[in-house]
Symmetry: D2
Subunit: 329 residues, 4 copies
């Protein structure tokens, strides 16, 4: 964490990795907070791809009008194989120099921060990360931008499925996003009143799942919902259905994979406020001379985490919520 007192005159901002609702609110906050401090801003289109291929656009207060409520990202996102090479990153750094850019704000998840961190190490680029991913798997912040929106989108979908499950007294296996972590699966299962949640963090015993479902059936519960994180080691909802359907053949078991709807849509209030806080904070800490850090909100206060720490491990689930799900089911 270097603390140069060189005045920051120009910054660049990009979004990278999977898009998440609230990225636009974060971009807006970066641009507006910079404008307040008379810092120039370039938006870089298509993430690291655009950094290499010189897709820089000047932005001002007006460029970010009326975007706070929009899903997706006006800066676009993209993969860049080239950026995984030293040569690619060299080109990126050269472009940053060409535009006299003092610092980079990188909005995204751990892949995004890994990229920014390499740019810092190899080329001395000042960089601040803003955590935005629907997976909520980044340490150093209580929540990531987009998580709350994805949660509510998944929940509204499950509410609809519950209507049908209830009308037909059926069993539904619903797969939600979460390759490595079960945040969405755990919280939607509590919030939807699902009977069971299968999480990547916990070993799933298929026999135990069957036993629990059977118990519920005995209790006169005639519809049931199982929420499955896509990264659960059973292999997801379709594979789980294959494993248990013979034992519940009297049931009309159905599978729903919520998929990409969880990434889009207007961000919730919480995500917009979080994105606004973190976007503004990114500019503030750059001005203060920080680099190679990620901004986060922990216990309602701004917290800085070194990027290398932020990318070193995944955030853990709150175990009290796992217990809660079991009590209330």
């Amino acid at each position: 964490m270097s603390e140069d007192l060189v005045k920051v005159k120009t910054i660049a901002v990009l979004t990278s990795g999977g898009d998440s609702p609230g990225m636009n609110a974060a971009v807006r906050a970066v641009v507006r907070a910079a404008a307040q401090s008379e810092i120039n801003v370039y938006g870089v289109k298509h993430g690291y791809y655009g950094l290499i291929h010189d897709e820089f656009v000047e932005m001002d207060t007006h460029s970010v009008s009326n975007i706070i409520q929009r899903g997706g990202t006006i800066l676009k996102s993209a993969r860049s194989e080239e950026f995984r090479t030293e040569e690619g990153r060299k080109k990126a750094a050269d472009n940053l120099k060409k535009y006299n850019i003092d610092a980079l704000v990188a909005i995204g998840g751990d892949g995004t921060f890994t990229g920014a961190n390499l740019l810092s190490k190899e080329h001395g680029v000042n960089a601040v990360g803003v955590p935005a991913t629907i997976d909520n798997d980044i340490i150093g912040t209580d929540e990531t931008i987009g998580y709350d929106s994805a949660l509510n989108t998944a929940l509204e979908a499950i509410d609809k499925i519950r209507d049908t499950a209830d009308a037909h007294e059926r069993m539904f296996l619903v797969e939600v996003m979460g390759r490595d972590t079960g945040f969405i699966a755990l919280e939607t299962s509590i919030a939807s009143g699902a009977e069971i949640a299968l999480l990547p963090e916990e070993l799933t015993n298929v026999e135990e799942v069957k036993r629990q479902l059977n118990n519920m059936l005995k209790e006169q519960r005639r519809s049931s919902l199982v929420v499955v994180a896509e990264g659960d080691e059973t292999g997801g909802a379709i594979k789980l259905a294959e494993k248990i359907k013979d034992d519940f053949s009297q049931y009309d078991m159905r599978v729903c994979i919520l998929g990409h709807i969880q990434r889009g849509g207007a961000p919730t209030a919480r995500d917009r406020v979080l994105a606004s806080r973190l976007g503004a904070a990114a500019v503030k800490v750059l001005i203060e001379g920080h680099s190679e850090v990620m901004v986060g909100v922990v216990n309602n206060s701004l917290k800085l985490t070194p990027m290398r720490v932020a990318i070193s491990k995944k955030k853990e689930l709150d175990h009290s919520l796992i217990e809660l799900a079991k009590i209330l089911r």
Copy 2:
């Protein structure tokens, strides 16, 4: 269509087949309209299964309070293999006699009407059908109850997917409901501005689909949405992806299957008003002595269609909308 002038004193109402948003509004309208005419109402739980197994519940105005906005059906729905047998239908008819029921209101799709029609033919049961299915595939009515809600649910999901498609400049293949008919696929494709819609009613030429997608890419359109009806003869979105992905390997093609979320949720204004009209109309035509008819709204007026006609064929798509989709894409 018999026109007995015997006074209707007691009726039964059931929901059957796939649930659709607005079924509760229709049940409410049947009960309230009957109450206005001093007719007693029994609700039959679990459709034809409950008719056989004597799941009759007395209903009054208060039984249907505060349900107009709910998805699913408070009367539940179920399959009944037994009702497919003469013996099963005999039991059903006996139960209707046991409760002195003069007529049956059957809310559902063509399977529901086929059942009601058999009861009428074999046992002289007076029956009126109310078309409720998200597929909109019933002739004799401009729309079926639940179609508008399903359409809007699918559309909101596609809007969210568009956010991500746009952010990542990706190609998305989105599968919507519609086993035999493409109503949802066609209207959501127009309403979402999708690039292509694949409908069961039209022969899909995969080479032509590829050609069109390629043209769009040439036009600088960098994201694209293809809406696929589940019953399209390509076999749905996953199979389509397999057939075309090699030709678009530079694209990050994604598949979304919207699935059962399309059946649930609070009904739209249009579905609630339609359900209210048709539920009340069902009672009215029973009082007037009609039977073996389905009530519908055509050109904004009530229309009766003999049940055997209603189940004789599927409704056709409006070809002008197919043309419109092509002009506006």
Copy 3:
């Protein structure tokens, strides 16, 4: 209705009057349908004000990407006192000539069509009207663009109010838009299960309203909703509350005025499809040589109505729905 066979090469499109959800979908359809027929399009900003003040913008297929789902209007709307003068309209007509514009598509309500009609009469401007207003008060079309969206927005708000009314067993007077017509009030009252609807089209007898509310209270109904059109001759919900509150002092009566939320938001599927049909139809009829007409959809078919007829009177409510509301309350 003139039918010149002169080829249409360039058209202009504007939105005017109160905005309604779906206006953007209509603009998109005009632009895309014109592009299909190799017609150039100018968008005119700020309605008739921009026509006078030369706010013309060239539009192509890309200008209208990703707007179909947006509320409001990208062309903006505005009042123009100047356009009410002959001199103002002369300037507008001169601008249309300056850009070699063959015809004007005017999207809006009756005020919009009155303006277009004057331009036609005084300066021979070819003009086609596209009905877009949340009020649904235009004859010559079964629905106007924006009506279905406004209805659903109002309904969702009333559903929320019903939750509170039900929890507290309160009486709510909810005012919805509709200065001269009760379309929104009537359909939302049916769809929300409101106890009473007060419509501008019917004389409201306050004593009768009190009597009905008292009857409901006697029937053990402990919460109640009254939907009031803003144009009802009682003067709206606040004035109604003043007139009846003394008779229901044991109740905790509350007033909600839904207001401008009814104008905004993403359009529903129905409004987007209608806007797409009418926007494309406007271009088609211009090519065919029609002028001074409004396009509409009646009984699911395209219908042309002379503009002077369209502005000559308000559409009437469907009286069968008024009866239905009374039966089901």
Copy 4:
């Protein structure tokens, strides 16, 4: 805080005060957590009124099925003048004894807790409070149940108003709930990108408001949103409009009062999870022998606050958010 080690066998639960989304989820959690510990539960209808008038209903796991997603409260809420008298509270306490109730869970805001506290003091009733109010004004918890839902409802409404403000380039004054506190006003103003927020916690200088609005107009911002808390000392949006309209006569200034829609609707994921945590926690702390405490979640951990402290003052706004709003406007 007494810590009797007497085993808890039977508890009662009630909801009181203004309803808020998530109350049902809290009731469900109380009932399910109690069932897990083999504790009997009575639901008391209509809050303290029902406690006096013996409206006790036995509840079990099935009584709370399928309510987690519902707004309002199945236990209803009501005012009770009688409970403000010693005599009334004596009756309430007698009823609790009659049913052998060991402890009371009171779900609501500060008025609710004041009532529970008096019961404890005067009659030794063990009581735990669960904070549920859309106002978020209770100390001892980071958020109250219902706040997040109200925030999102208000925000969605403001998003719709922004569409119209933007289309017409108008100035809108939007009033949100908050009699004594500006939580909803502050967070919705940030999340909606409003130009100004007027909060009860800050002295509003009308001349300063005018100056700021004028500056924005000079900056080419042609639409603007002012969010006003109902409790702002200007007197709310209507009064504010009267004070400033003459200075902005060129603008078509409009007022919207969002009102009671903010209380209803399905709770958000966050509110359902919070309500589930707090409902379960209330049972847990009763078993542990606590009384006269309120359960809350602070920094993501369960926290107990003595009821007398919880009702002693209002929670304060986060001043960093007030600053943030100013930077980003």
